[in-house]
Symmetry: C2
Subunit: 476 residues, 2 copies
């Protein structure tokens, strides 16, 4: 474990690789109005939702409209060994889209067509710029939905790149389980296919899974085939309050051990409920809360809820409060998804340093309780929510971006939290990815042997290190 | 698509890399009674359940008892650039464990300890030589089970290496979804960790998924952490007969589209039911059959079965016949698992050429019906079963191993079948892997770009090509 005051979490590489004017001219000539070097456009593509505020923007932005556009842009950049940074919705939390070494952003927002919906096979094929809400709007009429739901209205390409998940992962899995097939533009500008639309395959190395979560460092996704799911016949949401976090966690452990197929189960820390109330104009009680959702047939939903209510009662949980109408449910889940904004609103002008550890669920109470005690002792404001069925939780430390001391305090808290999670068999990031912020943590977690293996793969697939360089790992 | 008469499906590489006597002496010195060069031992580790009968056995066998043993054996072989072939239960179907280039087998059967069971986290950690039945016996007392069930009592290491699945995959996924964490000995003899015991992670490249399905060509597994599942409260199995295969397939498609969480749904072709009857001494009717299983609470199991019965009735399915006692269910599923032996018994002395295509389920009826017509026209005896909920089915062509003509006919049928599956967006192998037999098919399926990417990874991780060389792909 590197020391809490190590510079690693900030900007691990400052080597600059400026885009030569000849490259910019060539891109301008090839892409004309799909190319921009205007400062406002560059700045817009030079930031995300991370707390990094001081990185220079990319030298230019190419707005790709086709696989061929992406190939041509990559080939031109490859010719000049200039970095290319794929840019989706800009909602990443770890600086994944920042041009830390300079280079050219490839914006994929215009590649936003849904290419085919196959309800019989439970698959859909989309371009990378499609957002999750856009996708779900399109699937509704087929009686289908796509469950992966990070808080933001992220792009499917970005969600694939960060191996995103969200509140439904406890039942439906993450992008790891729900990406079937990718078209990927490699460092040489070739377009390759990884995976298959068949539900399973033992045909060769699992390239699709290797690309999922590679954060733009191994290739740029230009087509993505996803597994979709039938809209449940019945849905019911409930809130349950607990006197202590450990009781809520124990309730979830037993629920899962009993095989109850709960669709969503989110923990919201008592203090955070207040922030959510103010932001979403709700009147929830300020206690430690489980927000749950059950999917299935009407009888199955009823039975699941009764089982969980019984377990909760044995752990001092109060009577369930129900949200049965779609409107009530949407209001609750939107409030939960907007916790980031609720946190920001609670301290105007702040930036959020977001944590993302995930531990085996039996270790969750330990991981949570000690970290809450540390955060309380530090005096830093924070919100705290958790995908508790997966053992994944997020502190959002609300810091004054101009206060080096607050930033250092928050980073120190995160260091302790990650160190604890690793001791408990956990991971430094459940769903946000490594980006710039967690490169040191990844080293601690994976160990030298696995890092060497990852670096060997990176060097083999991107020998000139042009694909989103300076993120995830330092490929010497 | 290469021509049906291409030599690829047989033995794609004949380059021999004999183990130097100095290596054998060094292995003998290091491993003493854990080392054998006796012909009977070598022959036992030089074959599997594939139809390849003419490959020479390995030069020697090392019986590993620890990670350190595997590391030392690999390091010695690496020093002499001699192939190492991991050997589990020997139940692979595509020649994965054959010493086609010579070299040393590392037998993992003695590494058969269950290292820890964590029911709260739904995980178990095992050594690679543990078999699936051994694992399930050990999990029973904790109220858990491991669902992946290839027909054979395969080793967990081998199942990980081939990305195995089986009859439960429609609900519980394959080894891809159920392997969480691996300890892997690499080509240099280092032991690295890939993955995490946490339920999800976005920490770097998904090495665990890259190793799953790599068929011994990227590393040797020495520790495997799996996801396990609670034993369902209620289980019920049913048989339903259909006048036509297409009706059975349509029933399954609608079942899955409705979101019924069916646990198992197997298609057995009418002619195959007769073989199963004779082998397992059953008295099933000889019709096209769906063999189904439902898991859940008693109420949920009842509801699922009623829903599927309704759908089946709309597609000319007859009334369900129930198998409610554990004994009846075990008898039926054992009979299904032993279809390979039932087929072999139906034609004494035959070898089986096993097919394994998997297609999106909407294409399943097309893929099946045309292939049945071709097989019938060829006059070759066969059995036919399918994991129909996944779109995966197996012909077992029962050939006289001494008849070049029968072998050629069977291979030609398989070529047509695979070509058809690829046209229908499918894969050449749903669960058996590539091994020796499907290297040409893999090229056709993945395309030159993906194959080049796989080869680049293989070369990066195993530059001297010592790990199970000559399988999956030719890494130039």
């Amino acid at each position: 474990m590197h020391a809490p005051d190590s510079p690693t979490p900030f900007l691990p590489q400052v080597r600059q690789r400026p885009a030569p004017q000849a490259l910019l001219d060539a891109l301008q000539a090839r892409f004309s109005e799909q190319f921009s070097a205007a400062l406002a456009v560059r700045e817009q593509h030079g930031r995300d939702e991370s707390a990094f505020t001081t990185v220079q923007p990319p030298a230019a932005v190419v707005f790709a409209e086709s696989t061929r556009d992406v190939q041509d842009a990559v080939r031109l950049c490859a010719q000049y060994r200039t970095p290319v940074i794929p840019f989706g919705a800009g909602s990443s939390l770890e600086g994944q889209v920042l041009a830390v070494q300079g280079g050219v952003s490839i914006a994929l927002s215009r590649m936003n067509r849904i290419l085919s919906v196959n309800p019989e096979d439970l698959t859909v094929t989309v371009q990378p710029g499609v957002t999750r809400k856009q996708l779900n709007d399109a699937l509704k009429s087929a009686g289908m939905f796509f469950p992966i739901d990070p808080g933001a209205d992220a792009s499917i390409g970005g969600m694939t790149a960060t191996r995103a998940s969200g509140t439904n992962a406890v039942r439906y899995g993450t992008m790891r389980e729900n990406v079937l097939l990718l078209e990927v533009v490699t460092a040489s500008g070739d377009a390759i296919r990884a995976g298959t639309r068949a539900k399973k395959s033992s045909a060769g190395y699992d390239l699709a899974r290797l690309f999922v979560g590679s954060e733009g460092t191994l290739g740029i996704f230009t087509e993505i085939t996803l597994r979709i799911h039938p809209l449940p016949e019945a849905v019911s949401a409930a809130i349950c309050y607990f006197p202590a976090i450990a009781d809520a966690v124990q309730t979830v452990i037993q629920t899962i051990q009993l095989g109850v197929p709960i669709a969503r189960v989110e923990l919201i820390h008592a203090g955070t409920v207040g922030m959510i109330n103010r932001h979403a104009k709700l009147h929830l009680r300020q206690g430690h809360m489980l927000l749950m959702e059950f999917h299935g047939s009407p009888a199955s939903v009823k039975e699941q809820a009764e089982t969980v209510q019984t377990i909760a009662s044995e752990h001092h949980g109060e009577a369930f409060e129900w949200a049965d109408t779609p409107e009530e449910r949407t209001r609750l889940w939107s409030a939960r998804h907007n916790v980031y904004f609720a946190g920001v609103q609670s301290r105007p002008g702040c930036r959020v340093i977001n944590t993302d550890v995930c531990v085996p669920i039996s270790r969750l109470a330990d991981a949570l309780l000690e970290s809450v005690a540390e955060a309380d002792a530090s005096g830093i404001a924070y919100y705290l929510v958790g995908h508790v069925g997966d053992g994944n939780f997020h502190f959002g430390y609300l810091i004054d971006p101009d206060s080096a001391q607050e930033r250092a305090t928050a980073e120190a808290l995160n260091h302790k939290l990650v160190a604890r999670a690793l001791t408990l068999d956990g991971t430094c990031t459940g769903e946000h990815g490594v980006g710039l912020h967690k490169m040191g943590f990844l080293r601690d977690e994976a160990g030298a042997g696995a890092i060497a293996t990852m670096c060997a793969i990176k060097r083999a697939l991107d020998p000139d290190n042009i694909l989103n360089p300076g993120k995830v790992l330092v490929a010497k």
